[in-house]
């Protein structure tokens, strides 16, 4: 539960007072609605169990919702929170405490990975159960039942908005973490032969990634006792002075560890930008393309690339 609260807390930061007010405005919740809901309070409280059951009974039909049903304590929490929800729903107060309760429940749904579509289905079953009861309260006066239902539906949509935000925020958090992971994977260091590493850099090179890259490269040089590194920056669209400086320092550090860095694939546009900025590229060992870079690397390593009739063979110079 501890991390439950941590999550809820994180989402709560997004629901400031002005946000609660705005949410009420979005669903057009008026004093008349609150008065209409007040008329329903007693009747709905008398049928609490049936309404709670409408929600969980719906979910129980679907094996996809087993994440909730297989964890008894979470299920109990969810039932308790749902009961409290229904009590609050007809309570007439839709401020921050109300929203906080919704957020806590949303955090629980998120924890059991409740499918958004299933949540919507269950919530619909719940509102149907309530609306049926409302209509039955004023037999022979359809318009009255309809108006009351309409007021209650505003709260229903108010609730859905909050739960959606919680579920989406959690998903975004997951995506951010995955992006981090992909970022790390996308600057691999490959050993192509003894003492020779290739580091292909694709995509955006920002300061964060530049730092990762330095660390990854220096570790790889140590682990492989590399003598030459070919750093391929084909596809890197923009390099500013800070990132350029970072790369130059990394190259200098590699040099101190006994490895020479050859940079390949520097685009004409990036080179022009760096020169215009005034970045000193004279210490950069740049070679046009990756193939050229590898040939240069092999030369530095004391190998020679020899074309024979059958294949490209490589043999030591001496």
């Amino acid at each position: 539960m501890a991390d439950d609260y941590a999550r809820a807390e994180r989402h709560l930061r997004d629901v400031a007072e002005y946000d609660v007010e705005r949410r009420r405005r979005y669903v057009d919740l008026q004093p008349i609605d609150i008065a209409q809901i007040g008329e329903l309070r007693e009747a709905i409280l008398n049928h609490l169990d049936a309404h709670v059951e409408a929600f969980f009974g719906y979910l129980a039909q679907y094996p996809e919702a087993s994440g909730l049903f297989s964890r008894r304590n979470l299920l109990e929490d969810a039932r308790r929170l749902k009961r409290e929800h229904l009590i609050a729903m007809v309570g007439g107060e839709y401020g921050r405490p109300y929203v906080e309760q919704r957020v806590a429940l949303g955090a629980l749904y998120s924890k059991v990975r409740l499918d958004i579509r299933l949540f919507l289905g269950a919530f619909q079953a719940l509102s149907r159960s309530i609306v049926n009861q409302i209509m039955a309260l004023s037999p022979g006066d359809g318009p009255k039942g309809f108006q009351r239902s309409e007021s209650l539906m505003k709260i229903v949509f108010f609730d859905i908005g909050i739960i959606m935000d919680v579920l989406i925020a959690d998903r975004e958090q997951t995506i951010t973490l995955q992006q981090e992971a992909i970022r790390e994977l996308s600057t691999p260091t490959l050993q192509v032969r003894d003492r020779l590493l290739i580091m292909p850099i694709i995509g955006v090179l920002d300061t964060h990634r530049a730092r990762q890259l330095t660390e990854g490269l220096l570790n790889a040089i140590r682990a492989n006792r590399a003598k030459v590194v070919v750093m391929d920056v084909t596809g890197v669209a923009t390099v500013d002075s800070k990132v350029a400086n970072h790369l130059l320092q990394t190259i200098a550090a590699a040099g101190l560890m006994g490895a020479e860095v050859i940079v390949t694939g520097l685009s004409a546009e990036v080179a022009q930008s760096l020169v215009t900025l005034g970045v000193d590229l004279t210490k950069l060992n740049a070679v046009g393309d990756l193939q050229g870079g590898l040939e240069e690397a092999e030369r530095l390593l004391g190998y020679e690339v020899v074309k024979t009739r059958v294949q490209v063979a490589r043999r030591p110079l001496d």
Partner: protein
């Protein structure tokens, strides 16, 4: 020059600069807007690099601020305008800050003078304690 920039045509975009990834967003959006304004080739990279420099300065020296991107048209010539502004500490001595190699952040000191060289028009105004506004433009060749 700022007033002139305000007369920009349709197409204005504001990118808040609060965290590192915002720098990347700003330069990507700047590139897109430059394409819309008819710029091409290496100019796109020059503009993106200049945006990166001023956005970076916002983060490092002011904490947060914003980049405003606009399309321009003057005498039938199209271009883009980049305004970088913040409400940070400001710059005391602008001519000094514009010198190559001058840095209070122990970095290369090339951002401001470099951005000026990368763009066609460049103006920087600052009031100490009130912040910095850099306005720069690049025109279609």
């Amino acid at each position: 020059m700022v007033d002139e920039a305000r007369e920009g045509l349709e197409g204005e975009l504001l990118v808040p600069i609060e965290r590192d990834p915002d720098v990347v967003t700003a330069r990507q959006k700047g590139r897109e807007m430059a394409v819309e304004a008819g710029l091409s080739g290496s100019d796109l990279t020059l503009i993106a690099t200049a945006i990166s420099e001023v956005a970076r300065n916002i983060l490092v020296y002011a904490g947060h601020g914003e980049i405003i991107l606009r399309q321009l048209e003057r005498n039938g010539r199209r271009g883009v305008c980049v305004i970088a502004r913040d409400e940070g500490p400001g710059i005391q001595d602008i001519p000094l800050a514009m010198q190559d190699g001058y840095s209070t952040g122990r970095s290369l000191g090339l951002g401001l003078p470099g951005a000026k060289r990368l763009m066609d028009d460049f103006e920087i105004v600052s009031e100490v304690g009130k912040g910095v506004t850099v306005t720069m433009m690049k025109w279609r060749r």
